[in-house]
Symmetry: C2
Subunit: 306 residues, 2 copies
C-alpha cells in the first residue's frame, strides 16, 4: 500500500506523511526538545537542570502543517490535476521553527547561548509577581503601549524615568527593559506585594494591560469561561465512556462557512459497517460473513458508563 | 479600511484576522499560558512555583491556523466565488488545543488537576538520566515497542518483570508505567550512572530507541547537522545587518512542487518603490514627488555591517 501502488488506482492521490525525523527515526516532543535546546533554556535563572515543558507543542505545530500541506497539495491539484506526496518530520518542523524564531541567528550572529531567565519575558519586560492575597500574576510590557500602561498603573512613571537615567538607558527601548529587568522588578515588587488580586485585576483591565492570573489546569477549567460553552467554540458533549464535557470545534470563525458541530470521538470499529457498505459497496450478507470469520468486528462499546 | 470598505473594491476578498482574545483584548503566550494552567504543571515535582516555557507555542500554532484558514477560505472561493472573513484568537487557539489534548477532559471527567512531574513523560514512561560523563539523556518508553526496546538495552528484562509482579501491575500497560515511574527510574538509574554518552548512544541507536541527549541552543546549532545545510530544508543565507546564517525554507517536501528558496528578510521599505510602480502603476515622477514630500521613503539600510 505504498504511494505508487495506491496511485495506480487513483492517479491524483495526495498523501501527506509525518515522521519522527526525515530519516525515518522515531522522535517525540520529549526527545526533540532536549536535542534542540529548549529544556536547558527553561526554568529558574541560575539553575543547570533542564526543564521539559508539558505542552507537546511540536505535535500541535506539525499537525497544523500536515493540514497546510494537504490543503496546499489539493490547491495544486485543482490547478494541475496532479496528486503528489508531501513529507515532513517532527524534528524538521521544530528545527525550522527554532530558526524562524531567531534562536539559530541568536547563536550564529550574536554568539549568544540563551540562559534560563525564570518567568521573565525574553527580550523585553514581563514578569510574574506574588500579590498580598497569595495569588500570582503575570504582567507584560512588551510593546510600547503595554509598557507605558503598566508603569502608569503601578504609579511609578517618575521612578522608572529616574531608573533609566541612573542606568544610562532609554527604557522606552524594549531591549533595554530586558537588560534592566531585575531593577525594574525590584522597583515594581512593593506595589504588587501590597495589593490583592481583587484590587489589581480591575485596575489592569481598566488600563487595557496585557496580564493574567496564574491558575492550575483545574482552576482554569472551572474558573475561565473561555473553556466553557460561554465560548462559542465550545459545546457540552456526551463522550461515550467519558461523560459530559466541554468539547471545542475549530477555533476559527468563518463568515461564510458554519463551524462544524463537535462530535464524539468514535469508538474502535464504530464506522466499520458503514465503510464496508457505503464506501466499498458490500452487501449485508458479505459484511455478515466477514464478521463471522472475524475479519472485521463491530464497534467496541466503552466499558466505563457514560 | 475595514472589511466592508475593502470588499466594495474586491467582492471576493478574503481576510483572516488573529487577535489576542476573541473579545479583542491583548494576549500573548506569556499571559495565555498562566491563565490556562501550563506553568503550574511545568517544572520539578513538588514545587509550587510556576515555570513558564520559552517556546512561544501558541504563536506558532496560531500562525499555522492562520495559513489553514486562508487556504480553507480560498478553497471555498474556488467552489463558490465568494470571499469571507475568518477570525481566530490566540486564547481560543490555546483553549481548543488544551481540550483537544485531553487536559479539559482530565479535569472534568477524571477530577485530576495535573501536578508537576519534572521531566517525566506524562502518562507513560520517559525520563532523563545523568550519565557517568556528566551528559544527560532523555529516554522514552511510550509505545510498547519503545518500552520493550529500552528494557532490553538496559538489560533489566527480568528485573522489570519482578517489579511488575511486586507492584501487582502489568507494566506492558503504559498507564501503569506512569504510576510506577519512580520505581522504574530507580531500577534503571545505576545502568545510566555507570556509562558514558559514547557508550549508550550507539547502543540506543542500534536498538532503534527513542532518545536524545540534552543540549543548549548553542550546542544544538553547532553540533546538530539537522540545524545546518546538511538538512535540505536549510541553506546558508546572507541576511543584511545580521550576517551569514542557516535559514530554513518550508519543512514540508512536496514531490510535485519545489521548495521555495529562502530569501533574506526585507529591510524596512525595501519594496516601497516596486509596489508603487508595479502594483499601483505610478510613474517615476509621481513616486519621486511622494518621496520628496516624505509620504514614502526608500528602504532603510541596516546600520550593522553584514
Amino acid at each position: 500500500m505504498d504511494y505508487p501502488a495506491l496511485q495506480a488506482r487513483r492517479a491524483d492521490l495526495i498523501r501527506v506523511s509525518l515522521t519522527g525525523t526525515r530519516r525515518g527515526e522515531p522522535a517525540v516532543d520529549y526527545t526533540v526538545n532536549p536535542s534542540l535546546g529548549f529544556p536547558m533554556a527553561t526554568g529558574p535563572e541560575g539553575s543547570a537542570d533542564p526543564v521539559a515543558h508539558v505542552l507537546p507543542a511540536w505535535d500541535c505545530i506539525a499537525g497544523g502543517m500536515v493540514v497546510n500541506a494537504l490543503l496546499a497539495a489539493e490547491r495544486h491539484r485543482f490547478r494541475t490535476g496532479r496528486g503528489q506526496v508531501a513529507e515532513l518530520s517532527l524534528k524538521d518542523v521544530a528545527a525550522a521553527m527554532m530558526a524562524n524564531l531567531g534562536i539559530v541567528g541568536e547563536v550564529v550572529a550574536n554568539g549568544v547561548d540563551r540562559a534560563k531567565a525564570g518567568n521573565a519575558l525574553y527580550g523585553a519586560y514581563g514578569q510574574d509577581f506574588v500579590l498580598a492575597c497569595g495569588r500570582r500574576v503575570m504582567v507584560v510590557g512588551l510593546t510600547d503601549r503595554q509598557w507605558r500602561g503598566l508603569v502608569k498603573v503601578v504609579g511609578l512613571v517618575d521612578e522608572v524615568a529616574a531608573l533609566g537615567a541612573r542606568l544610562g538607558m532609554d527604557l522606552a527601548q524594549e531591549g533595554n527593559r530586558w537588560l534592566a529587568r531585575k531593577e525594574i522588578t525590584a522597583l515594581f515588587a512593593p506595589w504588587f506585594t501590597a495589593r490583592r488580586l481583587d484590587e489589581v485585576g480591575p485596575l489592569f483591565d481598566a488600563a487595557g494591560l496585557t496580564w493574567s492570573v496564574f491558575r492550575s489546569f483545574a482552576e482554569a477549567v472551572t474558573q475561565d469561561p473561555d473553556l466553557s460553552p460561554d465560548n462559542p467554540i465550545f459545546q457540552m458533549l456526551m463522550q461515550p465512556g467519558v461523560g459530559m464535557l466541554p468539547v471545542p470545534g475549530s477555533p476559527v470563525s468563518f463568515s461564510d462557512m458554519a463551524r462544524g458541530a463537535a462530535v464524539p470521538a468514535p469508538v474502535l470499529g464504530e464506522h466499520t459497517e458503514s465503510i464496508l457498505a457505503d464506501v466499498l459497496g458490500l452487501g449485508s450478507g458479505q459484511i455478515g460473513r466477514l464478521m463471522d470469520q472475524g475479519v472485521v468486528a463491530q464497534g467496541i462499546r466503552p466499558s466505563r458508563a457514560a
